[in-house]
Amino acid sequence: MSHRSNAKTVLRAFAGAAALAVTMTYGGLSAGLLADPLTEKDTPSAATMEGVLKGMWTEVKSGWEDRLVQDATQKTCSQYRNDPPAAEANAIVERETATIVMPADGNVLGDWKQGEKIASSGRGGQFSDPPNTENGGNCYACHQLSKTELSYGTLGPSLTNFGKDREFDLDAAKAAYAKVYNAQSVNACSNMPRFGAHKFLTEQQIKDVVAFLFDKDSPVNK
């Protein structure tokens, strides 16, 4: 992580210098020629964005207001385009780790068959969903899981043989539970939703998903 950040910082310095040179050479010629015609100084102020958002969502139904408001982590990740400097990244990991509530009985493995259903369902939380729709984890949107399911996305890594590759180790299963509960406890600004921290999935649902990853009979490990 820190290596990556350092390399990026160096690259940014070069890119910044190059951009400056271009600006000095072609200053004001045509913004359209540059890949990104605007520099950081043009970033709209927080007050401007607040006004824009107010005008963009004038009728928000009761109970949905919070969806427009960013928490500290969302704010930082947006600001740094999901590549925060090391100090910010560490702060996020620390803060998000503190949100994790492990199952009281210590058992993180539920029913893998239920887990498979949760992994396949992209329902819940959308304004088009009927009330009381059960939320799904929609894991297949981004991950390959069972080898027999061909309709999988590639935004996240393939998770085939997830449990098998970890020799069905219980500590690895607990780590997986924590990751599904709050992905940003592992990777700051991860694209993966914080399913448990947002209470989008229940404790039982997360256990079921972890079982889908770790059960020896699960198609993930076949």
Binding site: G32, P44, M56, T58, S78, L155
Partner: protein, 277 residues
């Protein structure tokens, strides 16, 4: 483009598509990409495109006298002078001095309905997205007007402060993570060659081919919805999937986001209405 009779072709296309998908599911991953490509080629066949019904209706609507002033929209200035349609869509969103703001095509059309025609737009807004038995004036007009830029390339000059501000706000919105799943536009659209399920995701975080092909193919006839949809509708649907409340149609924020996306598509050749899944 003259009226065509696309239904027979359309049915054939649909049937072929279904067969393709069934075949695709049966064949396994090796052929997945190839079969998806074939499916898309079939969707691209303009002879099977019901979106041209919207073009025809939009053409009539553009010339129909409406509103308290009982005039048509033919004096509406979409940026290239009153009534000039050719190439107008290729340069939108843009700043309009008379309204003193940056507007996309949909926002501008509503403005023209109100100022040129003095039309009560309540009914137009109620039908902003067409549904079974209810055509949408906006989808018809936008499809007709955008079609008049076919073969032309997107070019936003961003030559004044308001346009630059709209672009900057749009970019900020693109990266703004929020709601129950922490999603932003960039969650799905900032890397090359990614898919959600089997759907390919264009990388819209940078200028180039992905953005050009994507943005320049809207409005599009969406097979899955049996309606021709505009960019405003596509973004509304994105926000739905992002678990956000429905954004206000033709609001300044939506125009800003469309400004950013269209600038990423700079140089993209417009060919609409297209057909998509």
């Amino acid at each position: 483009m003259k009226r065509r009779r696309p239904y027979l072709f359309f049915l054939v296309t649909l049937l072929s598509s279904v067969i393709t998908i069934v075949t695709l599911r049966a064949q396994g991953t090796d052929n997945t990409d190839k079969e998806l490509e074939r499916y898309r080629e079939m969707l691209d066949d303009p002879m099977a495109n019901p979106g041209y019904f919207n073009v025809d209706r939009g053409e009539q609507l553009w010339a129909t006298a409406r509103g308290k002033k009982s005039v048509s929209l033919e004096t509406c200035d979409l940026g290239k002078g009153p009534g000039v349609l050719e190439g107008a869509y290729a340069e939108l969103p843009r700043y309009f001095a008379d309204a003193n703001k940056v507007m996309d095509l949909e926002q501008r059309l509503l403005w023209c309905m109100q100022t040129v025609q003095d039309l009560d737009i309540k009914d137009v807004l109620a039908r902003k997205f067409g549904s079974e038995g209810h055509t949408s004036d906006m989808e018809d007009l936008v499809t007709f007007i955008a079609n008049k830029s076919n073969g032309m390339k997107f070019h936003l000059s961003l030559s004044n402060a308001q346009e630059q501000q709209a672009y900057a706000i749009g970019k900020e919105l693109f990266y703004r993570r929020s709601s129950l799943l922490d999603f932003s536009c960039s969650t799905c659209h900032s890397e090359d060659g990614k898919r959600i399920r089997l759907q390919e995701l264009p990388n819209l975080s940078k200028p180039g081919v992905d953005a050009q092909k994507t943005i320049a193919s809207w409005p599009t006839y969406r097979n899955s919805q049996s309606q021709t949809r505009t960019m405003q509708n596509r973004l509304y649907d994105c926000y739905r999937q992002m678990r956000m409340p429905p954004p206000d149609y033709a609001s300044d924020g939506m125009t800003a986001l469309i400004t950013y996306l269209t600038k990423q598509a700079e140089g993209g050749e417009i060919n609409v209405p297209s057909i998509k899944r």
